[in-house]
Structure formats: C-alpha cells, structure tokens
Homo-oligomer: 314 residues x 2
C-alpha cells in the first residue's frame, strides 16, 4: 500500500472537482446506489478517546473505502492534535488495498465544507446580500472558503463565543478577501444575512424562527450527533423547503431529529439533497422562500473525496 | 504510517513468543479486559466478494488494532490470491496510527494456528501417539507446524477430499520432518489418532461420536461461521471437557452452536480457554478423557499478534 501524506493530499485537492464528485455521491446515495453500513465505534476511558470507522462503496464503482477517525481530547496536554484520521482505498474488483491517505482529518473537514457549498448552490437565494457564520472553528473557515465560487458576496457577519477565536477568524478570513463584522448575538445574523451557515457544537438553539427573514437559506452543519442543536425546531416548520443529506440519519442526529420529536415537521416534508441535485425534487423556487439544509455528514462524501484524491494522484 | 510488507513480517514472527502473546490475549478476553465489538462487514455482488473489519483493544494496553480482510473468489481467474488482509495498529493513548502490517492474511492464519497449539498444550494427552489432520489447506499445514514444539510426535494421518491437495500436503509436511499416511476416511483418524485437528470448510459432520476413543483431544478449527460443521454434536456431549475460545461467539458459529441447538450440551458445560490458561478452570485431568476445543477465532488474537510483530520491529 502506498501511503500519501498531508502535503501531497493538499496538492491533489487543488486538482480535483470536489463539487462534482460529492454531488455524484449524494445522488448515488439517494438512488440507493451506495452501500454504507452503520458506523463502527470504539470508546476509551483512560485517557478518554473515541474512534469511528466509516466504510462503504458505490455499486458498479471501482473502489471501497474505510475511514478511521479518532478524537483523543487530552492530546493537547502533550501538544498533539486531538483528532487523527486516515482513509484506505481498496479495489472493489479484487479487494486489494490501493492507497492509504494519511490526511489527519483534513478530507473529512473538506468534504463537509463542500456539502455546505452544494446545499448553497441549490438553495441559496440568487442575490446573497451578506453571509452569516455561526462559529469560528475549522468549519467556519472552510465553509466560507468553499462558498467563494458560488457567490460574489464577500460581506460576512460572524458570531462566536470566544474572543480569541473571533480575533483569529477575522484575521484569517480578511486575508482571504472577505469583509467581516462581528455580531453581538446570533440574532443579528438572522436579521441581516440571507445565507447563514451554522458550525458550532451547540446543544441548544442559537437561531429562532421569529428572527429568520423571508429569502434566507440556512445550512446547519454543527448538529452531527444526537443531542446537538443550533436551530429552534420551529425554523424547520417555517421553511418552505427542508433538505437533508440523509433522511435516515437526520431522523436520528440532525436538526430534523428535534423537529420530528416535537411534531413540528413530518418526515415526508424533508427532501434528500441527492434528489434536488438530479432535479427529481425542486430546491428553492422563489427568492422569498426560507430554505434549510440539515447536513449530518454521510460516508458517500468520504468515499467520493478519497476516490477523487486517489485518481488525481495516479 | 509506516507500511511493513510480508517479508519483514515473516522475519519478525521468528523473533516473537506467539504462544505467550496469544495466551495473554485469551486470558484478557475471558477476564472481560478486551473490548471487541461485533465484526463490521461489507458484501459485494459483481464480482462477488466480502470484507470483514475486526477491531478492538485490551484495556490498560498501549494499542488498538483494526484488521481489514477480504475474500474475492473470482480473483483466481486473474491469477490473483482470493484473500487480502492488512492490520493497522494505533496508539490507545493518542489515537495516532503506528504501523500498517500488509500481511495479506498471513497473521490471521498464524494466530489461528497458534490458538490450536495453545488448546493442545492444555488439553492434549501427555503421550500423543499419532496426530490426525482433517484437510490439506493452509491451516492443515500451520496447525501441524505449530504443534511441533508441544509434542515429540511426528506420526501424522491426514484426510482430505482432493488427491492433488493430499499429494502436496504429503510432500510439504514430509519436508517438515513429519511421517505421514493418508486416511481413506475421516473415521480412520478417530480410530488411530489421539490428537486430532479439523481444518476443513465442511458443512456436515466428518467425525462421529461412536468412533472417538477415550484419551483423544480434538481441536475444531474449520467451523468459524454459521452453518459450518465438522463434528457430530454428540462428540461434544461425549467429551469430559468442552473448551471454547469465546462462549458468546461459539454459541453462534462454532461446533457448539449445533450441539446447543440439539440440546446435547448446556451452555454452562463449556469453559473458555482463557479460564483454563489461568488455572481458574481445569483442562484435561486424566489421560483417558475426551476433550474438545471449539475455536472460532476472536479479535484478541489479531490484537496480540499485531502488537507482537510491531514490538519486534521497533
């Protein structure tokens, strides 16, 4: 097996059309063409840590992929990053291992950001007046960067809990040609932005239905595990279009899980992103609609980004 | 991640005490010190293939291990081996990947053979008069080789379905200093051997209770998946001691599964190998007892062999 390190992976990422690759993944998933069994987990006590193994393949494809990602939260005491990750690509024809991508979690971060961009492509209003970002971490950066090719808007309002986080975010994103202001409260984003991306680990609503204006699209990225939540469930009820990456998964761990539990939306009211991409279902049909994309992250994104990087390297 | 190829792995295997490492694994497993979740599987249709992901760790240890093994049975058409396999060793302290052992399944074969040797160590009669081997494949070879250090007996009776397989087996094992004869039927083994190892993929009994003599030990290796079977279940009933590698797993997929279903043995009558090794439970207590070891293969064996190879390489 050839091992590809992070620098070579970064170079390869610059040469691939990730939007296309991951759109194809969402379509295959929604057509039932993806085989993605439940995540396999390991948990550790001393020191605390967790490992997630995601694996799967697209039917009639050349590959299968196994991703092993871990979080060991006391690593920072030793000056090490808390997360580790790698992806293994195998032949679906013979089972042979083809490549180990030692990406340290970068590919997961990127495929998550690309999903946000795809949601914005199909759901954001044509005229984005200002982009609102909740959070100042890795996804807050990447989501904004991957929106660049989709909208000429460079006006950004950001909210975060940490002063230091905000300071760093302003610096980095200003260097990336955005014009940023800091919001005093999440509500400000709802009141003045019509493309909002939520990227925090919050476990309670930060945005409320009464504040969301007509013509707004929200991509909810942070809520990727049971218990996490950034949106008041009434926002999903108020939206004219609720899009999810995976119906089965968002019922368990997305913003949709909260809205379903409260009886505010019906399962049938949500549409999978894969069906929007093919045109089987409509995305935004009017500028004044409210749209929400509930993105929890699915293994087809891992499969597609690993394939794209491997093929760029060959 | 450093990748270690098959030749370096073979060299490292010569420098490690596998019996000790894998005995420790069985003990940890039976003491509840091993975390080994259910196997994760992928299946493929075109061409047919299957992938098994086994993973786990021992508590208070330094490592965790993920093994990815595949079988693609049409590979032989292209002159490729049907099975592929690799093991990844990670730090249990930080999550960091330490090594990828690209062993192509060798370590699985070896850890399976070593388990047979451990069972013989605790259960075989003191005076082995003749060793009986059912099957002529990889395990039929390795089991015999790993018995060498446990008994001075070099007399072997082998039975197999394939003439060519028998011919090759005789040649290879004779070179390995054994003195072999071919049995016309499995019954001959029961009648003339007091240490028997069964290694076939049979789905119906090959050995029957009426033929098994007092003072015989049988290690049943072939039955590692639901439906597989080499022993008439009455043999387990007749045995004075029934030993399993994993009670929970043998209930599902070992020889014990068949005997349980027919009500011939009680779950409580089986003893885990780990409890025999520690002396908490007794193995053979008299030369004329019949003993059976039902070995289905557990992930601690993978963990222990991967660790042993890694530490020998460091």
């Amino acid at each position: 097996v050839k091992v590809i390190g992070i620098e070579a992976i970064k170079k390869a990422l610059g040469r691939v059309n990730l939007m296309l690759a991951i759109e194809d993944g969402f379509v295959a998933y929604s057509q039932g063409e993806a085989v993605v069994p439940p995540i396999a987990d390991l948990r550790f006590d001393k020191p605390p840590g967790e490992v997630h193994i995601k694996y799967g393949y697209l039917k009639n494809d050349d590959y299968y992929v196994v991703k092993i990602a871990s979080g060991f939260y006391e690593n920072s005491k030793a000056g090490l990053p808390s997360s580790n990750g790698l992806m293994l690509l195998f032949s679906q024809r013979t089972g042979e291992p083809l490549v180990l991508l030692q990406d340290n979690g970068l590919l997961t971060d990127v495929r998550t950001a690309v999903a946000g961009a795809i949601a914005a492509k199909y759901l954001a209003p044509k005229a984005v007046s200002r982009i609102g970002i909740l959070g100042t971490g890795t996804q807050a950066r990447l989501q904004l960067r991957y929106l660049k090719s989709l909208t000429p808007c460079r006006e950004v309002l950001v909210w975060g809990r940490s002063e230091l986080g905000l300071e760093r975010y302003l610096k980095d994103m200003t260097e990336d040609d955005f014009s940023l202001r800091v919001a005093l409260a999440p509500r400000e984003l709802a009141e003045t932005c019509n493309l909002i991306v939520t990227t925090t680990p919050s476990r309670e609503p930060l945005l409320f239905a009464k504040d969301i204006r007509p013509g707004t699209h929200i991509s909810a990225i942070g809520s990727d595990a049971p218990g996490k939540q950034e949106l008041e469930p009434a926002i999903l009820q108020k939206a004219q279009r609720l899009v999810v990456d995976s119906l089965s998964q968002c019922k368990e761990r997305g913003e949709m899980a909260h809205a379903l539990r409260q009886g505010l939306v019906a399962e049938a009211s949500a549409v999978e992103l894969g069906h929007i991409i093919t045109g089987e279902r409509k995305g935004r049909t009017a500028e004044d609609q409210i749209t929400v994309a509930d993105l929890t992250g699915i293994a087809v994104q891992d499969i597609q980004i690993a394939k794209a990087v491997y093929e760029a390297l060959m």
